[in-house]
């Protein structure tokens, strides 16, 4: 589904990713863990197509497509989804109009007609139930006045609406209380599917108690320095990131 080879990326003149390799198969859930400043969020931004990040070397193949040739909106229409660490508030743009525009952009890409009002509302009902997003929240402006947990639930709601092939969750657990963490995780788990892959980026192991990964990778100084099964996450939690640094030194 996603093959990253020797990825180098920088912001302004600072190199952040320094030769990252990663292979994610269809239906797999991979977790990337790492200390602050290791390049986790940069990886999410580069995948989503944020323009202030410059890829200086390497390649990203997304289900047979050269991802780096596409802009952010094209990537999304091809089925890539980024759940933001800090979802943006957009006053005046209604959540539902936003979702309708996004769904219709994707449908147009697939050569389909715009979704009917009836089908759209049915879809909203179904998907908002998944993350317990109340009518009050989904009818409002995008993320405006939402609490941290509500914003993250809205991210998962959008993911469920758009049914991506590949979802990148960037520190989705940050700022969540236990209940919100459970709701968000259950939403993600309900979407696990043999044709859909996940890349879960997190600093803490606790999210991985809820969203159990197939593979865990450790990112340090812009490279994957260690990979292993889900148990690696427990080891990291117990020993801390310094252990990896010593281990790989």
């Amino acid at each position: 589904m996603l093959t990253i080879k020797n990825l180098h990326a920088q912001v302004e003149d600072t190199a952040i990713l320094k030769g990252l390799d990663l292979e994610i198969g269809p239906g797999e859930v991979h977790a990337i863990m790492g200390p602050n400043g290791s390049g986790k969020s940069t990886l999410a931004s580069v995948l989503a197509g944020r323009e202030d990040y410059e890829v200086t070397a390497g390649s990203i193949d997304f289900d047979g497509t050269d991802l780096l040739e596409l802009d952010a909106s094209e990537r999304a229409r091809e089925g890539l989804f980024l759940a933001f660490q800090y979802p943006v508030e957009i006053p005046g743009v209604s959540n539902l109009n936003f979702m309708k525009a996004a769904i219709n952009a994707k449908r147009e890409n697939q050569g389909l007609d715009a979704i009917s009002a009836k089908d759209f509302l049915a879809l909203v009902e179904e998907k908002s139930a998944l993350v317990e997003l109340s009518g009050r929240l989904r009818d409002r402006s995008v993320n405006e006045g939402f609490s941290g947990g509500e914003k993250k639930r809205n991210e998962i709601f959008q993911m469920a609406m758009l049914e991506p092939k590949m979802a990148v969750l960037d520190e989705t657990d940050s700022g969540l209380d236990i209940d919100a963490l459970r709701i968000v995780s259950e939403g993600v788990n309900a979407m696990r599917h043999e044709g859909r892959s996940f890349l879960v980026i997190t600093h803490y192991q606790r999210l991985l108690d809820h969203i159990v990964p197939d593979h865990v990778h450790v990112l340090s100084d812009g490279q994957i320095v260690k990979s292993g099964p889900k148990e690696l996450a427990f080891e990291l939690e117990a020993k801390g990131y310094d252990w990896i640094k010593e281990d790989t030194a």
Binding site: A48, S73, V88, G92, F98, A101, Q158, L162
Partner: protein
Amino acid sequence: MSLASDKAQAFVAGLKASSGLDLLAGSGRQAMSDLPVPTRKSERWKYSSLTPMLAKPVTTAPVPKGWPEGEPANPIPGLHAYRIVFLNGHVVTEASDFPIAEGVVCMPLSQALAEGRIEAGDEDWSHYHTREWIGAVHAAHFQDGLFLSLDEGVVLDRPILAHHYTLGENVASCPRHRVQIASNAHAEVVLWSSASESSSGMVNAVFEAKVGSGARLGLDKVQHEQGAVYHLAHEHVVQEKDSTFRIHTVTVQGHWVRNELNVIQQGSGAHTMMHGAYLPKAQEHVDNHTTMDHTKPHCTSSELYKGIMYERSTGVFNGKVFVREDAQLTNAYQQNANIVADAGASINAKPELEIYADDVKCSHGCTVGQFDEEALFYLKSRGIEDRTARALMVQAFVGDVLEGFGQEEVAQEVKRLLAQRHGWM
């Protein structure tokens, strides 16, 4: 005599003198030679130059034979309204539809004058010609307009549409509207200006209104002029005790536009709402000068103007708020927000507050910015194309102004025209 005034004289040489209000016309003619032709040296005209307009002399169009074929007298689909239509400043009665009801006088200004409905000494409420050369030009050459008078407690069952259409080259149009709403009466008026693609010249319009105690007047004002028309509009509204005046001014399209809106609250407990939006593109120019004058206690005003400047367009917002010494417990709010969408565009924005009372609540804000790149990226990251994402954000930005029109049909048509013009969905 300076070159500038030679040019100004040549510019107005083809204008036909107004008739019916001889005193006003005479003062106008006098003021034209007494007042300076505005230049960019004057603060009020610093960012709006009349020089290009004055370079091409204009003429009053002959009285039309009728309404042009194929052109809708009512340009707003679905709007169920009484109607008075103007072609190049002349009223076209055949295409108009006046209300006939007890306590309502609605007719062309020329007819009201002929019937002696305007008393000597009461012909001019704004004294625009004593302050501005352009006002003097209007006073000396005004043609016709809407005359509306509502008796006490009368509520019009439908809005009145005053539609002005410019057709032809180097045409001078000087419509003059007069609206009088007696106590506790209520009227909604739609002022719509349009122009054909090949038209050019000047529209120099004056709208004067008195809103009696407890009365209400709502104005939906839309400028949608193709061609190369210089549009100078002046609204002067006087409000009595406990009255409400609302105006929404939206410039959909206009080659060069200057709106000068003055509202005076003359009685306590009055409320004023002045909202506006402008979205010029190409090399268009839109200037909004507003004055809110609070003279009595316990009054409120709410002013919100929003602009999006595209391409090489230029804009001006100047919002003056006076709170006079007697106007204690005034609550005045003013907000002007602008997005400069393209590098070649510019806006000159200036809020001005003069407060002479000590127990008042006044707030104002003025912003000039660009698109929120983070929000744009968020929208695009969901598969929405850049163009559509920008359109969503623009509509959100001006949405609160557009939603506020008195007539839903006007709001819908303005949104449709803007969507068409800017390639929104």
